[in-house]
């Protein structure tokens, strides 16, 4: 699998020269399978740049949304393939017993918030409720489970052969086990991440910031490190940065947090444009 980061920011886009190195676009990660298939993880503002480089003849696009907070869907209305009547786009999102996905997405993709209605998009995307558990998708095995974040939110583990990637961009496991040293079965998202070759994980806060944002659904850098350690991952990518942080702020945060204790696996703060092989 080849992984490309198109949006690394959390909460709201933070464009400008002070965020140019890590990037200001909100969550969007491209996943290319060995067979050339395209999976897109979340539709934050980064998806616009992804679309700009897409082959217009791309046969099929599967867009896996973790949840429907604005920073994870805001790019949808500007995702070029949705305006191509020949494109085959499948949008996958957390299930709901009370409102179908069309209704939920139409809260954004309809006037007055957006000029084009979901039902009027030329592509007519196919909408799916993600099954909780494992399912096959384009030669990949996808494992989806609900995780700790306000509003129904999914985490994904995606496996291709023996290789695995876990995507937990908005995740507060500390809420379910304060010190992250409790019983593994009771720690949100841990089964998804166990033994993953690559874990992409929420790292929105410092520990001090987290103390006054408990329950907001995000992790500190330290929480991400501890979670990755418990999961025994091969590599951790820090993700979903607080929008108020400049590049220099992020450098300073990582310098402090990553030096605090020995880390026995590689840790890489995600930057827009980064490409990783899994």
């Amino acid at each position: 699998m080849k992984v490309t980061f198109w949006g690394t920011r959390g909460s709201i886009a933070a464009a400008g020269p002070q965020t140019a190195r890590y990037g200001g676009n909100t969550s969007c990660v491209e996943l290319r399978t060995a067979g050339g298939g395209l999976i897109v993880l979340d539709a934050g503002t980064g998806i616009v740049s992804l679309a700009n480089g897409l082959d217009p003849d791309t046969a099929r696009i599967d867009l896996l949304l973790t949840h429907l907070h604005m920073d994870h869907i805001q790019g949808l209305g500007f995702f070029g393939p949705l305006y191509n009547p020949d494109a085959e786009v499948h949008i996958w999102a957390p299930p709901s017993r009370s409102r179908d996905l069309s209704e939920r997405l139409s809260r954004y993709l309809a006037p007055p918030l957006f000029p084009v209605r979901l039902r009027d998009l030329p592509c007519q995307p196919t909408l799916h409720d993600v099954p909780i558990g494992r399912f096959e998708l384009d030669g990949l095995t996808v494992q989806a489970d609900l995780v700790s974040h306000p509003y129904t939110t999914l985490g994904y583990r995606i496996e291709e052969g023996e290789r695995s990637l876990t995507y937990l961009p908005d995740h507060e496991p500390a809420l379910t086990s304060a010190a992250l040293d409790g019983e593994p079965a009771w720690i949100s998202g841990l089964a998804l991440a166990t033994g993953a070759d690559l874990l992409i994980h929420d790292a929105q806060y410092s520990d001090a910031e987290y103390e006054v944002r408990v329950g907001w659904g995000h992790s500190s850098v330290n929480h991400a490190l501890n979670f990755a350690r418990m999961a025994g991952v091969e590599k951790l990518v820090l993700f979903h940065y607080d929008p108020v942080r400049t590049d220099d702020d992020l450098d300073a945060l990582f310098e402090v947090e990553l030096a605090r204790e020995s880390v026995e696996f590689p840790v890489q703060p995600a930057r827009e444009g980064d490409v990783l092989d899994v």
């Binding site: 957390p94 299930p95 709901s96 017993r97 409720d129 099954p131 909780i132 558990g133 494992r134 399912f135 096959e136 998708l137 494992q143 489970d145 609900l146 995780v147 700790s148 129904t152 583990r157 809420l175 379910t176 593994p184 079965a185 009771w186 720690i187 949100s188 841990l190 089964a191 998804l192 166990t194 033994g195």
Partner: protein, 138 residues
């Protein structure tokens, strides 16, 4: 496309995890049962009647649970196991409430208001039951 639940390791559903967090802050006894009826969590106020500490001994299998309690109706008559609120929530997937006389592992008889709700997650997942107890002074 097929979907099944076969996680990499044992993982409690987030609904149970968050209910456990809430229960751990309450001063009334609360049980959490999984879909098989095993008591996967009970909070500190529930420990005396169960005769065990969760932090030391952990979960309680459904088969053990049945041996732990003697239960009577409020008037002292017998109550079938299938009519207990927890079993109605688990097996019939509906809430139930009863006033019961219960003797736990500490040997004391108590009159309890017992309310059980099935835990129904998204995508039609039946995840277990939550049971609340309220001791009645009478």
């Amino acid at each position: 496309m097929t979907a099944d639940r076969s996680p990499t390791g044992r993982q409690m559903p987030i609904e149970l995890i968050l209910l456990r967090q809430a229960a751990s802050y309450l001063s009334i006894p609360v049980w959490l049962a999984d879909e098989d009826g095993d008591l996967v969590f009970y909070n500190e106020p529930a420990e005396a009647s169960l005769g065990r500490r969760y932090e030391e001994e952990g979960a309680l299998a459904a088969s053990e649970l049945a041996e732990t309690f003697q239960t009577r109706a409020e008037d002292g008559s017998n109550v079938l196991a299938e009519d207990l609120p927890i079993n109605i929530a688990l097996n019939q997937r509906r809430p139930d409430h009863k006033t019961l006389r219960v003797r736990g592992m500490d040997g004391d008889w108590r009159v309890l208001e017992v309310t059980a709700f099935p835990i129904e997650g998204q995508a039609g997942r039946h995840l277990g039951a939550v049971v609340f107890f309220w001791e009645v002074d009478r």
